[in-house]
Amino acid sequence: MELQIKTESNVCIVSIHESRIDAAVALDFKEAVRQGTLDAPAEVVLDLTQVGFVDSSGLGAIVATMKHLAPERRLVLAGLTPPVEKVFRLTRMDSVFQIHLTLEDALRAQCE
């Protein structure tokens, strides 16, 4: 799982550098994000700008990650491409997450 984790102005940004979060990588994704956010501050942004496809396993892994980070940390999502947005919308998971159009929007919202 290719990802980049950095902390900027007290927000942890997890950028996924993969085109797909599917059944083939769902476990790797969970493990990599867990490991990478051990010392993260209270706000974690999952940047999905580069992800063109998420299946139900990938969606489950993102939900599991949010539950794992709670209650100390909050996972918000940013940069959902149309196919990814569609999976969240159809499964009503868009009502569970705070979702921002872009990473910049997410960071701006955290500063306010």
Partner: protein, 154 residues
């Protein structure tokens, strides 16, 4: 000169065959989308087809041929008709429980944080995004038929 099929034309029926395994779904999708490329599906249609096939194939790879069993063949037949893509998936793995399609109901999101569902979205997505879903178990073979209402032709 491009040999791209004119919009009004129907795609020839085709079959994609893969062997179950961790990367079988990705491989199968790649092969299917190669064949579908003359249809020039838009982003919305592409994501519908990709989701339905990915979920149906994930189920085969995970449940019909679980890791403890030997791997086996998965055949994907696709026929392009006026009312969309008619898909038939065949495998020789384990049968569906009670030889029936799972209900595929969405769990409520209106629950405590810790009770949010982390799975069970697959059949919901298949049923939500496709039509005429039918499952039969015959002669040791699972057959899943469905229609994806994209690429309509007049």
């Amino acid at each position: 000169m491009s040999l791209k099929v004119a919009q009004a034309d129907m795609l020839e029926p085709f079959v994609v065959k893969v062997t179950s395994g961790p990367l079988a779904v990705r491989k199968a999708l790649e092969l299917v989308f190669d064949q579908l490329s003359p249809l020039t599906l838009d982003v919305e249609e592409t994501s519908t087809v990709e989701l339905v096939l990915a979920e149906a194939l994930n189920n085969i790879v995970e449940h019909a041929y679980p890791p403890a069993d030997a791997s086996g063949p998965v055949h994907i037949n696709i026929r392009h008709c006026k009312d969309g893509l008619h898909v038939q998936l065949r495998d020789r793995g384990r049968a569906m429980p009670d030889h029936k399609l799972p209900k595929g109901q969405l769990h409520s999101c209106d629950v405590d944080f810790s009770d949010l569902p982390e799975g069970g979205f697959g059949w919901f997505l298949i049923k939500d995004l496709s039509r005429d879903v039918e499952y039969t178990r015959l002669d040791g073979e699972n057959r899943l038929k469905l229609r994806i209402a994209v690429a309509f032709r007049r």
